[in-house]
């Protein structure tokens, strides 16, 4: 990032739902041109933070600045600069593609000529141009998601907030969707998205790991992976179920996860534990088991950081 100006900033953001503390003093700083990912279990506060940033929900305490506008003091001003796509995309299924775009364009008072040009450009990019007269309800999941994005972009926002935009969308459409996001980013749009797909988290420039309404870790995907305590080993051998019995509970073993054709073992120190495990398996008459260090996925790191044992 050439410019280090902060586009989204929260200070001590707090929100309670009755006795439930949904958001506890969250501080975030997101720079221009980032694709920033929010990951965390359900109920961690991903949607709550999106809603507060977009001005549709008021925080109980704390400050939010989006593109230089204080959202708490001037939510309507902030709404002109940002765009929010909620989980259900906000499309009117009984309106056509063109009518949805017209509606959102008018709500943001986009000048007519600009609206037509921009909607053509966005529809072209999304591959939706031939479907302008089709009802939104008759589009496939991936097309709906892209139309949601087109509607969200019609007023050329500086900040894009996407709440689980790819949930339930097929992998091919997801890849197309990400390609559009990268293009946007090159035009200077700052993107904040939440996702339940850990492979998507890896595509973000930075990640915040949310848990119980708090930001536990915030770093680049590579940085977060480095923060994982210990190392991940993959043991490939026939009979991985038996392997698990043997390996579980051994000294230095922090977590064991049975995969379809292999065993993933998280250990405190790979150089020390690989020979130990090899000896252990040999002692059980298992020879030729292939033990390698494996690249941890974000999900592995996530579970490890939150203190899990699987």
């Amino acid at each position: 990032m050439e410019t280090k100006d902060i586009v989204i900033r929260t200070e001590g953001l707090t929100k309670n739902f009755g006795p439930l503390q949904a958001m506890r003093e969250v501080d975030l700083a997101i720079y221009r041109g980032e694709i920033f990912g929010l990951v965390g279990p359900d109920g961690a506060g991903k949607t709550t933070i999106m809603r507060m940033l977009s001005g549709v929900m008021r925080p109980d305490a704390g400050k939010i600045y989006v593109d230089g506008v204080d959202v708490g003091a001037n939510a309507e001003g902030a709404k002109l600069r940002l765009s929010y796509m909620p989980q259900r995309f906000g499309l009117y299924e009984d309106l056509t593609v063109a009518e949805n775009i017209f509606f959102y364009g008018e709500l943001f008072s986009v000048p007519r000529g600009e609206r037509v040009a921009r909607s053509n450009e966005l529809l072209e990019a999304a591959g939706l141009l031939p479907f302008r007269r089709r009802l939104a309800g008759q589009l496939s999941g991936g097309m709906k998601q892209k139309l949601g994005l087109v509607c969200a972009l019609i007023h050329t926002p500086h900040v894009l907030l996407l709440d689980e935009p790819t949930t339930g969308v097929d992998p091919v459409s997801r890849r197309d969707f990400w390609a559009i996001l990268y293009n946007l980013r090159e035009t200077g749009v700052t993107i904040l998205l939440s996702t339940a797909y850990m492979d998507e988290a890896e595509r973000c420039s930075r990640l915040a790991l949310l848990h119980n309404g708090e930001v536990r870790y915030c770093d680049t995907p590579a940085g977060i992976k480095k923060a994982m305590p210990g190392a991940l080993l993959a043991i490939i051998s026939a009979g991985p179920r038996l392997l698990r019995e043997i390996v579980s509970g051994q000294p230095g073993v922090l977590g064991v996860l049975l995969m379809g054709d292999r065993l993933h073992v998280r250990v405190d120190d790979s150089t020390r534990r690989i020979p130990e495990l090899q000896m252990l398996l040999a002692g059980h008459g298992i020879t030729g088991a292939d033990i390698q260090t494996a690249e941890p996925g974000i999900e592995d790191v996530f579970v490890a950081l939150l203190g899990g044992t699987v």
């Binding site: 549709v56 008021r58 909620p86 259900r88 995309f89 009984d94 309106l95 009518e99 017209f102 709500l107």
Partner: protein, 378 residues
């Protein structure tokens, strides 16, 4: 308030109404169904009571009596008979509800004494119908009396005498034909508009919640007032179409006399539509499920309008506490106004009291509705 956003909102809503068969059916078919059901079903009038005639004389004067029964529209001759047993037969076989017997010396006695008896026999198994038919018979006879300078009438057998019972109730002054439909139909119009108006608008906000579009809508710069007005404008237009349809049917289909001024009718109807749609909108903001909103709208419009507006049960005959409650039933004002405009031809200045009631109502509802919707999820 931004006109473009307001227009976009109204346009979007119009498209959605147009594409939603359920809304369209409520908007356009329900008034038709209700008009038929309430207009005919609740009507207390009976038409074309089947009548047997046994004219023993068959003179010019006796035929004049028969003719006056037929031309009244209340009776129609199902058959003509020529002997006394024919009457029993026709009544027993349900071929008629009433039989008219004109004696052979009818015109002679009329000429001699100035009065002459005719006999009317009624099938009294349905007491209600009989009473109404009897009332009609009295009406016919009264008219005949007026036509024939000499008064005459007599009955014997199972019925009381008709003589001297001709007695027009002064309360039917604006409804000379004693027609209950003239009284009922304007009330039916009020019931239909109240129900359809509130039902339609009660779904507008809850639909956005249920379909998941509300969250994005409130993340745009659209204001709460724009949402309210944008959503209500298309429904207001539909309400007027329905009102026009109902009022035209009242006059040309049901034959309710219209003596008032169209302008007065339009202004008061517009005010009433604002009230009911405002109520529907308020319900919609509060209740987030379409089903719940629709049921509450039904309870808040149909019940008070049918029971407490004076539409079927006269308000001045209600016990005092109930009568007090009717003042908060918005439809009582409109029912009063409609009846006065239709039957008395009242103008705006005559109607100042119910008009004031309705206007206060409209202002309160609009004020509440504009404040009810918050652009926030919590």
């Amino acid at each position: 308030m931004n006109v473009r956003r307001l227009f976009a909102m109204a346009y979007k809503e119009t498209l959605q109404i147009w594409r939603d068969p359920r809304s369209l059916a409520i908007a356009l078919l329900m008034p038709l169904m209700q008009l038929v059901l309430l207009g005919y079903g609740v009507s207390l009038d009976i038409r074309h009571v089947p009548l047997c005639v046994y004219d023993q004389e068959n003179s010019q004067q006796s035929r004049a009596v028969v003719k006056s029964f037929v031309s009244s529209d209340w009776f129609s001759i199902s058959r003509t008979i020529h002997n006394q047993t024919g009457i029993d037969y026709a009544l027993n076989r349900d071929q008629c509800i009433a039989a008219l017997v004109i004696p052979a010396d009818f015109s002679r006695r009329l000429a001699a004494t100035g009065t002459a008896p005719v006999q009317a026999v009624f099938d009294a198994t349905d007491v209600n119908t009989t009473n109404i038919a009897l009332g009609y018979a009295q009406g016919v006879v009264a008219q005949t009396n007026a036509q024939i300078a000499d008064g005459w009438a007599a009955t014997h057998g199972i019925l009381p005498s008709l003589v001297g019972q001709v007695d027009l109730d002064p309360s039917t002054w604006f409804n000379e034909t004693l027609d209950s439909k003239n009284f009922i139909i304007p009330g039916v119009v009020a019931v239909i508009l109240a129900l359809v108006g509130a039902e339609l608008t009660s779904l507008t906000i809850s639909r956005e919640w249920e379909r998941g579009t509300m969250e994005q809508l409130i993340s745009t710069p659209v204001t709460a007032t724009e949402v309210m007005l944008g959503k209500l404008i298309p429904y207001f237009a539909i309400g007027f179409i329905d009102a026009g349809f109902c009022l035209v049917s009242a006059v040309y289909w049901f034959g309710v006399p219209f003596r008032g001024n169209i302008g007065t009718l339009l202004i008061t109807t517009g005010l009433f539509i604002v009230v009911v749609m405002g109520i529907g909108y308020l319900i919609s903001v509060r209740i987030r499920s379409q089903l719940g909103a629709s049921q509450i709208a039904l309870v808040l419009t149909m019940l008070p309008t049918t029971l407490l507006s004076g539409y079927t049960f006269p308000i001045d005959q209600m016990p005092a506490p109930i009568r007090a409650i009717t003042f908060v039933v918005y439809s009582r004002y409109y029912v009063t106004i409609l009846r006065s405009v239709f039957l008395k031809g009242s103008g705006l200045s005559d109607l100042w009291a119910p008009l004031l009631g309705l206007s206060i109502y409209a202002l309160i509802i609009i004020w509440l509705a504009a404040r009810a919707f918050h652009k926030a999820l919590d």
